[in-house]
């Protein structure tokens, strides 16, 4: 067993922790090497107190640049996890051939768009497959008070939301289930408007009154802001066939009658076996239908996002390096301001290493304080941004610190603490007598 195997066998936490320590190790080693055997901390404290405002400015600058990097990484991951979570109940989507991304946005994230419809023949074909457990038509385009009104089947609504938070699933054409963030209570009535947003026509469906009979729990997806109604009701409200043969009992949901199936922009499919999902995807990727896994499309988008993140991370690192360079230049100036005190120490017989340790310890204090504050700043920014994104998109984005950003900070601290050796070293070559007289 070689060492790579050994590494792979370690639990992820151990790998991350060890990577963190390895990145921090140069800083720790330098710290021990520089500080060992002396007690420079009192004088480091004196230097910190000597220029409180300049020091605070340095710390804030470092914190801002570290926060940028931390925030960027945490935010990108939050978005990735949030969008994936919002899509995870959607196994397979069938739609008329076109853009998978447009369909993904429309069906999963409820972004309104005009898409061609699939007919009853495709729907019938899907339902004939013995492995299909849910095949739900979907209907969108209406809204109430800004909330999209989505027609679908009780099965799919139940699958999407899990057990309802309150009330029951819609069972007749004029019943509705409200998403967790819809400001409607059980028993409330509403009339949907035709269309979504500013162009919605309030009067188009004025004879269609729905009653809310249940509320979904939070799903962390745009469906939290949606009102779910039987798909038959949407068809009927728009003057289309209701999908059922004559003499329908009025019980909503499948089976539908092919002859009276008005069409659907997408069929949301769930098979009872994983392999069956793949089989269905191949079967329905053809001239008149396309089939895709939202998760796979999303993964492709995330890859692009990942590339963008890498580009942005490079920018963030460049910013950090620039800020650090600025801080070190500032430290050189500060070291010059404290040159008289350092010359005094050396005139009193302090070893060069001691004076060096004082300057380096001073720089290290600013850098470490800035880095720690930066983690807080980045985390805070992520909390704020995540809240805004969740508010605007209903995709639940949670702010969380994870190892990648801690690795970044550890690497930054190590690099800058090594760089801080430069201003510390620069003070040693100075003329003691001249500095004493200054």
């Amino acid at each position: 067993m070689n060492s790579l195997d050994l590494w792979d066998r370690l639990p992820a936490l151990a790998q991350d922790g060890l990577t963190f320590l390895a990145l921090l190790l140069p800083a720790l080693l330098v710290g021990v090497a520089v500080m060992a055997g002396h007690r420079p901390l009192a004088l480091v404290g004196a230097m910190l107190r000597r220029f409180p405002f300049t020091n605070a400015l340095f710390v804030l600058l470092i914190a801002a640049s570290v926060g940028l990097g931390v925030g960027l990484i945490a935010q990108e991951r939050g978005l990735r996890i949030g969008t994936a979570r919002a899509a995870e109940k959607f196994d397979l989507v069938l739609a008329a051939p076109g853009s998978e991304i447009t369909m993904l946005l429309a069906a999963v994230y409820l972004q309104p768009s005009d898409v061609p419809l699939l007919g009853g023949d495709v729907y019938a074909e899907v339902t004939e497959n013995p492995h299909v457990s849910i095949a739900a038509p979907i209907a969108f385009g209406d809204s109430y008070d800004g909330a999209p009104v989505i027609g679908t089947t009780p099965d799919f609504a139940g699958h999407l939301a899990g057990p309802l938070a309150a009330g029951r699933m819609f069972a007749t054409e004029r019943e509705a289930v409200a998403g967790a963030r819809v400001p409607l209570a059980i028993g409330d009535e509403f009339t949907p408007a035709h269309g979504v947003g500013a162009s919605a026509d309030e009067e188009a469906h004025e004879h269609a009154h729905f009653t809310v009979v249940g509320r979904m729990p939070m799903t962390g997806s745009p469906w939290d802001r949606a009102i779910l109604v039987p798909v038959e009701a949407v068809w009927e409200v728009h003057g289309l066939a209701d999908g059922h043969a004559d003499g329908w009992s009025g019980e909503v949901g499948p089976p539908f009658d092919m002859a009276r199936f008005p069409g659907t922009p997408a069929i949301l499919v769930r098979a009872d076996e994983l392999w069956a999902n793949y089989a269905l995807r191949s079967e329905f990727n053809r001239a008149d239908v396309m089939a895709f896994f939202p998760g796979a499309v999303l993964a492709g988008l995330h890859n692009i996002l990942g590339d963008v993140r890498q580009a942005m991370s490079l920018l963030a690192v460049a910013t950090q390096v620039l800020v650090t360079a600025g801080v070190l230049a500032g430290l050189l100036v500060l070291a010059r301001l404290t040159a008289q005190r350092l010359a005094l120490l050396r005139a009193l017989g302090a070893p060069a290493r001691f004076a060096f340790a004082v300057v380096w310890g001073y720089a290290a204090s600013l850098i470490v304080a800035g880095a720690i504050l930066g983690v807080g700043v980045g985390y805070g920014a992520t909390i704020a941004l995540s809240a805004i994104i969740t508010e605007r998109t209903d995709i639940l984005v949670t702010a969380r610190l994870d190892w990648p950003e801690l690795h970044l900070v550890a690497g930054f601290v190590s690099l800058t603490l090594l760089l801080a050796l430069l201003p510390a070293g620069a003070t040693l070559s100075r003329d003691i007598v001249r500095d004493l007289r200054a």
Binding site: L348, G349, R437
Partner: protein
């Protein structure tokens, strides 16, 4: 016990090459109290800096009990100062943010572990002898000019050095305070038999020295 000083052919140059100081020959026995006087700009501080191995562009020999400090490398010179010298600079040069005691005992921060406690203890005693209040502790910046000069002297005494170099230790003090400080300086020097070199304009202090030299234009006259 103090160290004997022997200087031969000492020359200190300015960066331009001009002679700031030249001392062809000087012998000071161990335990001697040597006073240096002379007009401003004569090279008195430069002389003390050369004795401590601080000056750059030096030639010749400054032997302390046979050890030529000018022949030592920087690290060894620092060690020599640390182990054998107390220096009172012309300007008190304190760390303004830390206490009088921390200033007087600053050498404890870089002294060998076993000597740290002794340095801090001696610093406290020196401050008490010199009449500098240490309780409650407050930043050195809040101490008066005279107190600051005494803190600087306490700092020089804290390491119990066999050589004491003092540059204008009583400048800008009133007569009574200057006399107290001079008493403390000479008392400390005499008690341990230290070799003392004092630069001063103060005739009262100079008068108490065993031997007095005058520096003029970088040249020494008896």
């Amino acid at each position: 016990m103090g160290l004997a000083l022997t200087i031969t052919d000492l020359v200190v140059e300015a960066s331009g090459g001009r002679h700031l100081l030249s001392v062809p020959q000087l012998d000071v026995p161990a335990g001697c109290h040597l006073g240096i006087s002379g007009p401003s700009g004569a090279g008195k501080s430069t002389f003390l800096h050369a004795l401590a191995g601080l000056a750059r562009r030096t030639s010749g020999h400054v032997l302390w009990d046979g050890c030529d400090i000018l022949a030592l490398r920087q690290g060894a010179r620092a060690r020599f100062r640390r182990d054998h010298m107390g220096f009172v600079f012309q300007d008190p040069l304190l760390f303004e943010e830390i206490s009088a005691l921390a200033n007087a005992g600053v050498a404890a921060a870089f002294a060998p572990r076993r000597r740290r406690a002794a340095v801090t203890l001696a610093a406290g005693e020196a401050l008490t002898t010199l009449g500098v209040p240490t309780r409650p502790a407050r930043p050195a910046a809040t101490h008066s000019g005279g107190e600051r000069q005494r803190i600087a002297l306490a700092r020089a005494l804290a390491t119990d050095p066999p050589i004491l170099l003092a540059d204008e230790p009583t400048a800008s003090l009133d007569r009574a305070t200057a006399d107290t400080l001079a008493d403390a300086l000479l008392g400390a020097a005499r008690a341990a038999g230290r070799t003392l070199v004092v630069v001063s304009h103060d005739p009262a202090l100079i008068a108490r020295m065993d031997r007095v030299l005058t520096l003029r234009n970088g040249e020494i006259t008896e």
